[in-house]
Amino acid sequence: MKVLIVEDSIFVQKLVRKLIMDHTTDCEIQIASNGEQGYNLYQTFKPDLIITDLLMPGLNGQEMLRMIREIDRDVHIIILSADIQKATREEVESLGISGFLNKPLTVDKANTLVELIRVTNHAE
């Protein structure tokens, strides 16, 4: 499975990368620090799954998600964001996502993320 992590915090990038590496096999990971990098990598890397933050410098995660959904309804996208607003969640859910997790990434949420990744992997 190919996973693209789009996240501006190096700390969270490492955390998510380690989580995936510890719980999945045969996984190729690439990392982008903002939406623009994420969109460019999406086009060249062709990931099966994108795990993305929302609030990032430059192009934000929601705009990146919108751009991707204009050309691709299939790629799985999981949101990992500190934004706890119901309105935000409803907006990104309407664009089609596989999951929405609020930061911080606790043990319970990490387990949920791993489970979402497994479900995505089996859906391929």
């Binding site: 501006d8 915090s9 190096i10 700390f11 410098p57 500190a82 607003q85 309105a87 935000t88």
Partner: protein, 210 residues
Amino acid sequence: MLNELQKDLLTELVNVYVGQAANMLSEIVDRHIVLNIPDVELISFSDVDRKDRRYNIFFNEGHLFRSSLQFGYEFQGKAFLMFPAEQAKILANMCLGELTETIPENFRLMDTDLDVLKEVSNVLLNAIIGEFGNFLELKLEYVLPDIELIHGTHSDPEILLQNEVYVLVLHTSFLLAETDVKGIIIIALSMSSISILLDKIDALLGAGHE
């Protein structure tokens, strides 16, 4: 600025929001956190009494770590989270799983520390501001959080502290088990945003009396 009932309800709301933020911080550092909110005030910054010990973090000498999150548009303002630099370092260490509760005098906040502190601040401020958005049933748009190391004596004129700007001051004290990491949260609001907030509070208070 606030009558007794408005202040009571606002304090209650903020207690819940900051409690949720504290719970998130507790999950990040894996320690019990006691969070006190002695007071919530809506004031004009020109009214701040510099002799008031509660505002020491603004005016004392020394370096501060300051994180800010700007939000808009219908409900507009900027939220700040500030820690003395030394305590920010302790917090960063704890987030990184380092158990050091004291740090050397000549410590430095490294890029790794700042990255961690930015993320932690982002989570905490989002938890509070996001709930205001939910409460007001408004979608808040955020500008990317900003972090700075500032000198205490230079902090006051920079913190949106012009006259006519009202600030919602939450005096918080994060107490991380056996480590006294203290910070302050300030939310600066535009006049129109204060009106929106007070209208909603008054509506709730009115409903409570029906």
